[in-house]
């Protein structure tokens, strides 16, 4: 589990990150490695008939103006981002270290996932006009 110290270090790293650049990269990403693997795993619940259909749905998801963004550290230390359509519980996952989309799926319960996964929210401050880490 992520410790409080891990969380503090991640927040520090995110504050040094060009958050707008990462979010732009996520929104502009078009390739999903292991497409067939992801389609087999998540395509049916997303009502995607083919891998291309699944990919098209992912692209449409990334164009949604109301996506919420979260980040956490996963695996071998990679920072994983989650671009979430909260209303539909759809998530595009993005590995910021390798700058690639990582997965696309429907969460069974994003509120629980948010708590258990200890995600850090990235919010747009209308006041300051830029993305910032919510603590």
């Amino acid at each position: 589990m992520t410790t409080a110290e891990d969380r503090r270090l991640l927040i520090e790293e995110l504050r040094r990150t060009d958050l707008a650049r990462v979010i732009n990269d996520i929104r502009a990403a078009r390739e999903l490695p292991k497409l067939r693997y992801h389609f087999t795993k998540h395509g049916a619940v997303l009502a995607a008939a083919t891998p291309q259909d699944y990919l098209s749905r992912l692209w449409r998801h990334l164009e949604r103006p109301d996506l919420e963004f979260y980040a956490t550290r996963r695996g071998q230390g990679d920072i994983m981002w989650y671009a979430v359509d909260v209303d539909h519980q759809e998530i595009a996952q993005y590995n910021a270290n390798v700058r690639r989309l990582w997965s696309y799926y429907l969460s069974r319960d994003f509120d629980q996932f948010l708590r258990l996964g200890k995600l850090i929210r990235i919010v747009f401050s209308e006041l300051d006009g830029h993305w910032m880490v919510e603590t």
Partner: protein
């Protein structure tokens, strides 16, 4: 509008998530979604056919085999009933039998 999950989708997604746990690619997400999904199945357990219950138990067996990896994402910060033994796998694979015996 949130997706209305069918029993079949819950069972299939749980199975897919558990299958993904041994894979290094995205195992943390698979663990969390598997545990969340297993609790959803527990909520509707009585609606499952005997065949569906048997299928879930087989997936439970596969989850138990991955208890060490699952443990890396536990304990859960949220409270859970001990009957939902999957949230206590950091204590060891015996938690299922303990829950069933209780």
């Amino acid at each position: 509008m949130k997706h209305e999950w069918t029993v079949e989708q819950d069972i299939a997604t749980y199975r897919m998530r558990v299958r993904g746990i041994p894979d290094d690619y995205n195992w943390e997400t698979d663990v969390l979604e598997a545990l969340i999904g297993r609790s959803k199945i527990a909520e509707i357990w009585d609606q499952l056919t005997a065949g569906q219950q048997a299928e879930v138990r087989r997936t439970d067996d596969a989850l138990l085999q991955q208890h060490e990896r699952v443990a890396e994402m536990l304990p859960s910060p949220a409270p859970h009933d001990r009957s939902h033994w999957w949230w206590f796998l950091h204590e060891g694979p015996q938690v299922r039998e303990e829950a069933q015996a209780a």
